[in-house]
Symmetry: D2
Subunit: 145 residues, 4 copies
């Protein structure tokens, strides 16, 4: 399996399609069926006490599976999340970036399924896991954010 | 089963414990084991095209089950989400508030389980469903956001 | 929305398509987008101690959403489960039938989403909840178990 | 982290605690926080057409996370599944054993979280994934199946 979008192409897509949140995420590695993204943690991602909020972890896993899918199928602004399951296992380190390590388990014509482990940078035990399903529109037409 | 916190008590808790996000949410109804919360949609909740983002829907379901649990057990800043499952079924209406209709299915000593249906205001079909588990700390001590 | 299969039609389908397990299930009620099925509990469904096993509860929720979907779209042997999430909340009553109360939340062209509450007969609090997604094959062709 | 139960100890536990189903499962490998179990597929696990049924895959993932947990904490008949999420991604090979490759992501005092990939023997792509949470009773007392 070959990449249809590499790291610079995904970065450009992120900026164009999600200008409001693109600064929150930094793509670290892209490989066939696998991807690492960093959540660049700032105040808006934190709960009182300094821990990263649940919605911020959700957003990280969501963008990671989305980008891992696009890397394989090309720019598809219309792919949509249909299902997510997450387990929150440990408190993230205070005010520390998170890394989301993502792998696509299935890339079908109409559905992609990915799973993620989320880590606080510098820690070995994952803070959360996620599995997500994306519905890929039939057309697989050109980029429409 | 009786409420330990009514609507004004939950509102005050939300302001004190989550000052960064309390303006996003408006508690609509509180009853034993049930609660309705509104996501007051503003630009920061929207994706390009005007639809409410997945992380915003996650945040809404998360706060709803949290508040429904607190309404029954009293202020417990330390209750934490351990698991969430969500299905995204329809595109939310553009730039429209969401209502999260929540019901607690279990309120045990250490775990509460709730389920939610999320609606765009004025629409009959739900845009998403969620089920969540909260871990309740053993102490059930005083409020510590 | 109208039913394409009523209770006798679903019962006949179950016998024809799933001869090995059809005696385990009794359809109690069928309505548009809703269905109740009973798990007729026998020894093979029990764990030591007499409680109904997890796999038996899974099988009940699975067949319930399947039948609720078929009731709306007609006999589709090829619809397949793509995702399930279950919370096991209480121990089922010993050696007692379970009722699965199911509702379809979405019936799209390619996916149906249902949610279930499972009860021990005679008890008010649910023993488990489930949400499931079924993929509906594009053809919607004739019955092929 | 060290094992409290090795392969023979887990096998003996399975026979004693689950006499009805122990022949369905063969423990392949046990390591700290990881375990492989085989579903020995027979007619009772099959759907018409020869594919392994969903409830059989559920049962396999359930027993795998249970045994992986017991391997670390010792025989605890009272540990119970509280949550499962599964994605069914590919049709299992006809009448072929399944292998469940399991890893514990968290082993806390009251909850263990594991994730599984299920494969048809001889195939590289997983047929399903599962994540499960087990509640561990406070006592961690002696074996009570």
């Amino acid at each position: 399996m070959q990449l249809k979008m590499d790291k610079p192409a995904l970065e450009a897509f992120l900026v164009e399609a999600f200008p409001q949140v693109c600064d929150d995420f930094a793509i670290e590695e892209v490989a066939p069926m696998a991807l690492k993204v960093r959540l660049v943690v700032t105040d808006k991602h934190l709960r009182p006490g300094g821990t990263v909020s649940g919605p911020s972890m959700f957003a990280l896993a969501d963008v990671a599976v989305y980008l891992a899918t696009l890397a394989m199928i090309g720019p598809q602004g219309l792919a949509v999340t249909t299902n997510i399951s997450m387990d929150f296992m440990r408190k993230p380190a205070a005010a520390t970036d998170l890394i989301c390590d993502t792998r696509l388990l299935k890339l079908g014509r109409s559905l992609s399924v990915g799973e993620c482990l989320l880590y606080s940078v510098g820690q070995e035990a994952p803070v959360a896991r996620a599995s997500m399903t994306y519905a890929i529109p039939p057309a697989r037409a050109a980029h429409q954010p």
